[in-house]
């Protein structure tokens, strides 16, 4: 007997598997906080894009609590923590004469950031 059979497909695809957790975790940041992204280069899985490492941004929204992929991908636990939408300016990310009228929004876990000192 196959683990996945045809009659299961509709429900599986319509349900999915959210990485959002129903538990509470104390957020390290609030909307409006000025943050700096940690300059980390983990040898394993991460969802932090390389182009924001060490860059400064501002927290725009708290998405709630999610599984932390950097540990979960390596069977080191879910390490529940908040994910935030963080706004970066083009000049912060790319330097030069990039216009700051535009913006880049990136989703960041608690463990990816620190408050600007």
């Amino acid at each position: 007997m196959a683990v996945v059979t045809a009659d299961m497909v509709a429900e599986l695809s319509a349900t999915g598997a959210s990485c959002r957790l129903d538990e509470t975790a104390t957020p390290r940041f609030s909307v409006g906080d000025h943050i700096v992204v940690r300059n980390i280069n983990p040898p394993g899985h991460t969802r932090m894009p390389r182009y924001v490492r060490g860059k400064r941004g501002v927290v725009q929204r708290d998405h709630g609590v999610f599984i932390f992929p950097d540990t979960n991908a390596h069977a080191q636990g879910e390490k529940p923590q908040h994910v935030y939408s963080v706004r970066f300016t083009p000049s912060e990310l790319w330097g030069g004469d990039a216009s700051d009228r535009d913006s880049i929004y990136i989703d960041m876990w608690d463990d990816y950031m620190d408050l600007q000192g």
Binding site: A6, M48, W94, D102
Partner: protein
């Protein structure tokens, strides 16, 4: 390929990804993880049952129903589920509204994350390195290549779906569509307008 002095056609071996998929499929079937009918059902689901028409129905509803639009922007996942669309790669949705002040566009710089229940599977260009790198570093240049010009005083806001959130752009309703029905409006909504690499033209 070696030079031949005859003229018959050779069959080219399948590409590496095609071979890899065949190997994975064989293993999953032989080990009994999945059965062949389930595989057919999965392919049918993502070839025929989900796609950007779902997202277009969501957009049209938001354009004609202000209460629905409010719910959609506050709780994207819930409001989209009201229309019957949910599941894999749409578990946690955020809908971002285009206005005269802000033009939103979506990318996944890390891979190819995309809202399947509302848009189906992503187009090839969305998964390709040039779009993924340039959407964040030169969004206006990318938009120009899609034929989209955004006013200088409008903010171009790029969303990197690097985490678990999936993004759907609520495009601007074009002028001259006041008398149109929800179905007529849905027919105007393009896939690219919901990624943010297109805008919807006013009817002629």
């Amino acid at each position: 390929m070696a030079k031949h002095d005859h003229t018959h056609e050779h069959t080219a071996p399948p590409s590496d990804p095609a071979l890899r998929v065949k190997a994975l499929e064989s293993l999953l079937l032989e080990k009994g993880v999945i059965d062949a009918e389930a595989l057919d059902e999965i392919i049918d689901t993502y070839e025929n049952k989900t796609g950007p028409r779902n997202g277009a129905a969501v957009v049209a509803r938001a354009w004609v129903d202000p209460d629905y639009k409010k719910r959609l922007l506050e709780d994207g996942t819930g409001a989209i589920a009201e229309m019957g669309f949910s599941g894999i790669q749409g578990e946690d949705m955020l809908v971002v509204e285009n206005t005269a002040e802000v033009h939103n566009m979506v990318v996944c710089t890390l891979c190819s994350c995309y809202p399947w229940p509302t848009l189906g599977l992503p187009p090839v260009w969305y998964k390709a390195a040039p779009y993924r790198s340039r959407a964040v570093s030169d969004p206006r240049g990318v938009l120009a290549e899609f034929g989209v010009e955004i006013a200088d005083d409008t903010e171009v806001r790029v969303w990197d779906s690097n985490a678990e959130l999936r993004y759907l752009v609520l495009p601007v309703r074009p002028e001259g569509t006041d008398g149109m029905s929800e179905d007529e409006l849905a027919a105007m909504v393009t896939r690219d307008s919901m990624i943010g690499t297109g805008v919807i033209q006013a009817p002629k």
